[in-house]
Each structure stands twice: as C-alpha cells, then as structure tokens.
Symmetry: C2
Subunit: 285 residues, 2 copies
C-alpha cells in the first residue's frame, strides 16, 4: 500500500536526501517536505530543485511535527544525530536512515530508542559517482535493492511504513539483520573499495598509460574514484568486519604470491578456478 | 596502406585466431588462409565459420609457403612454437603473434630469429569472456588498441607489414618496448586479474548473496570470471613483474589495514584520495 505523510523531515540534503525528497514529491507521498542541513547553499539548491518545500538549519526543531524523519547524513554522524533528535521526535514519528553501515547504529538504537522501536534502519543500495542535491533524481532509488533492518524490538507498524516507503519509490526491499548486514557488506562492498583503491595506487608508478589500460583495469578500479571522505567514514563505522575481510583477502593474495613464486601452474590455475566459482556463487545466488 | 597476403597461416584457431581469419577475409586482405590446430573439432568449426579456407594439424608444413604467419596459441606455447616453425618459414615470411606477454617471447626471438628480424611481436588488447572459434567475429579487433614491438634488430619493412595488418582490421597501433610492455601490463592487466580473483574468493565464505551485491562488487570482480588456464599461463610468462607488482599491492593494502586498525580517519582518507588520483592519472593520461 502506498504510504502518505503529512510532514517529512529529511536531515541531510545531498544526493540521497534530495533524491528521496524528489522521489516522494513526484509520487505524491508527502504533503510537506522539510530539508535540514548545515550549509545554506546546499539547502538553497535542494529548494531550487524542489526536492524540499522548506529549509531548516535546526534538526531538533524540524523533527517536532514530522510523521517521518529520514537521516541522510554521512554515516559517522548518524549516532550523534539519533541522540540529538530523540527528545524532539513525537511518539508517532517513524524514523529511518540511508547509511551504508548498520550494526553500530542499530545496536545504538536498540539501547537508546523507545520500545517498541519506531527507528528502523535502512540501506538503499543505490549510488552514483555524483553527489550533491544538484544531481538529485526522482528515480534515483528505482530498481535498486533497499536493505531494511529486522529485529525483535521493532514496532511492526513502523517497520511496515519504512518498507512501504522504499517500495513506493520503486526499490525492492530485502530484510536483513544489522550485524549480518555489516559482515556481508564488508566483503561485497567495503573491501572491494579498499582493494580497488590499493590496485589503483599500485599502478600509479607508471604515470600516464591510457593506451595500456584495458577494460579489466577500468572495471576493477572504477570504485577507486569514489569520494575519499565518505569511504574513510564507512570503513571506520565497520572497522572490525572490514579488518577481518581484509586479513582474509591478504591471505588469499599471499597464496597467489607463493604459487607464482614457486612457478606452480596447477596451483595458480586452481586459485583462479576458485575465484571464478566463488564469484558465480556469490552473484548468482 | 592496406596489405595483401597470398597465403596466411594462423596457428591456433580459437577466438583470437579465428576472428583474425574472419577479419582478414571480410576485408579481402588474404587470398588463402590456412588454420593450424591440434584438435580437428576446433578446425572444423573454424572452417564452418569460414574463418579459414584450409585446416592443418602440422604447423611446420603449413608455414612453408606462407607470406604471413600469426601465432594465436596460449602464451606458454609461443616460444616452443617459434622454435618449431623457424626452419620452415621462408626468408620473406612475416611472423607475428597475439600473446598477452611479450618480454620473454621477444627476447627469445632476438636470440634465435634471423636478422634483420621478421618476427615482430604483437599484443592486440581485444578480449571477451567467450572463447573458441564459434564466437569468432570479423570486427573482433575493431576499435581496440594493438601494441606492436619496437626493437633495433627488427626488419623495418616487416614491422610495417605487421602495423598495416592491425590497422587494416581496424585496430589502433601503439609502439612499445617488450620489457616495458610486461612491466606496465603487470600493473594494468595481470595484477588486476589476481586481485579480482582474491577478492571473489574472500567473498565466497558468505555463499549466495545476490541481493547484497552491488555494482561495485560486480565490476571489481568481473575479470575473476576469466579462464583459469589462460591466466595461470599469462602469470607464469610474466612472473617477475607480477611478483613485484603484487608485493607493492600487498604493501598498499597493509597501509590501509594499519590506518583502519589505528582508527586513523585522516590517513584512510588520504589513502583513498591517492587511489582516486592515481586511477585518474593512469587512465586519463
């Protein structure tokens, strides 16, 4: 069922926040959208794009009458923000977020948010190399997967509202436990960013080499072009799981190094074969 | 100028060899194309596709009257093949190959091939996940870069013929020293295959996770789906350079690990920033 909100407060009006405002307004899901930011120029851009109806520099004031609050700031600010708005949210307000890591945030909410909990963590897996409200798109979330937190302390009705919200902006919702989310994403998203970056840095010693670069290098390093501050923060909020995944990957590279050093063709072939089979299994499900 | 050959012998009629046959015949560059293989079924497919006019199981016999010989076998066989055909090639024959590594092969040719040398190494950077003559395509090389060996002992006219051949099948030719070729490609092609494979193996512990896999994982691991035997052999023929590149990449990953373990946000951000800058420099030239 299509949800409808009287007053939506979106905190953080970058690409994700402004796109959500546009998506909700285009689909008539909200009567009034308030955007919260700390820089007037960003808020002005979001207003000019009609992603929000009203701009505010004060998150506490802006959440007071909201029936939906969506946190769209960088991940490192989410826990502090949740604490800051908690005294001002109404009992009826449904609160969610769009952060790329979930374990620490949702565990914090379990400890601090009133129960049954009406804060329900989300992770829409939509992205772009672009950023800022100037690139907002009403169909930004369309066709993407949105991971939505599961947990015994959640308010069932609030969770249904969050699920309905993402479905209404044309995302496909997948349920996930927050700890498992971070453990799996460490392997399928965070570690690939670390590895792509390390690979790009390794190639840098040759300087300019556009004629010697094929599609393989382009694709393996594409996400090395992501925003450094965003990825530094994502790594810090999923540190343990990424360290474990990285250590495992370092071990896998060391197996390759040893096989190549020993000129062990069958071992190399077996490792490449395992990589191919692993990728197919992970992706094809 | 468009070259023309009376008798072309293509040794190895897989995807690359059969595509070259098709490309030359479609562009009327060859009066007669002989394909050499060691399995009749592959040769029959190449014949059925009209990629070759005649099939042979005997490389020595097939090169005897050829004015152009192109070696299209897996890289590990190229040095042995060069030795095997040398006594049977005419003085006038121009010989080239399509191998992904060049240093060892070209160094061997410098030592063994008559001078001025009419064997000129090539590396067309065209590829596909598909293989076998059944996927051959007359435009397989169109729009790709073909790296062609430079060296003081090369016969100038023979080199011009090789350059003209690749241009005639619509590739763009870039000159390169064979040792530099392998050194750079270790970073821009071979190491990315090793790393993509290690990354895929690291993710495998989670088994099927298609809903938790974004475009980032898809792209960083795409080449992990390449043929294991081909990449094992490429690694073995460029062992020293890949070992050096791999050690460097392992060092870069270790820097990431240390910064993350220390929760050093500025260091992490600096590493991601270096990766982004490095990729742009390498690719954009």
């Amino acid at each position: 069922m299509k949800p409808h909100f009287n007053r939506v407060t979106i905190i953080g009006v970058g690409l994700l926040g402004a796109s959500l405002g546009l998506a909700m307004k285009a689909r008539r899901l909200a009567a009034h959208v308030v955007g919260v930011g700390h820089r007037m120029i960003t808020l002005d851009t979001a207003l000019a794009r009609r992603a929000i109806d009203e701009a505010s520099l004060d998150a506490a004031a802006a959440v007071k009458d909201a029936d939906l609050v969506v946190l769209c700031t960088p991940v490192v600010r989410l826990i502090g923000l949740l604490d800051a708005i908690r005294p001002y949210c109404t009992r009826e307000a449904v609160v969610t977020d769009v952060g790329s890591t979930k374990a620490a945030l949702c565990a914090h909410a379990v400890r601090t948010w009133p129960t049954p909990r009406r804060f329900v963590g989300s992770h829409p897996m939509a992205g772009s190399e672009k950023f800022g409200p100037e690139h907002a798109d009403a169909d930004f979330y369309a066709g993407s997967v949105c991971l939505v937190e599961t947990g015994p302390d959640l308010d069932t009705a609030a969770r249904e509202v969050v699920v309905a919200l993402w479905r209404a902006v044309d995302a496909r919702v997948v349920d996930i436990d927050p700890a498992l989310h971070d453990e799996v994403l460490a392997h399928t998203s965070h570690l690939p960013h670390v590895v792509a970056s390390a690979l790009a840095r390794t190639a840098a010693r040759h300087g300019k080499a556009p004629d010697l670069v094929g599609k393989g290098f382009h694709d393996t390093t594409r996400i090395a072009d992501s925003r450094p501050e965003i990825w530094s923060e994502i790594c810090l909020t999923n540190r343990e799981a990424i360290l474990a995944a990285l250590a495992e990957c370092q071990g896998n590279l060391e197996q390759f190094r040893a096989a190549l050093a020993a000129e062990d063709g069958p071992a190399l072939e077996r490792l490449f074969e395992e990589g191919r089979a692993a990728r197919r299994r992970v992706i094809e499900g």
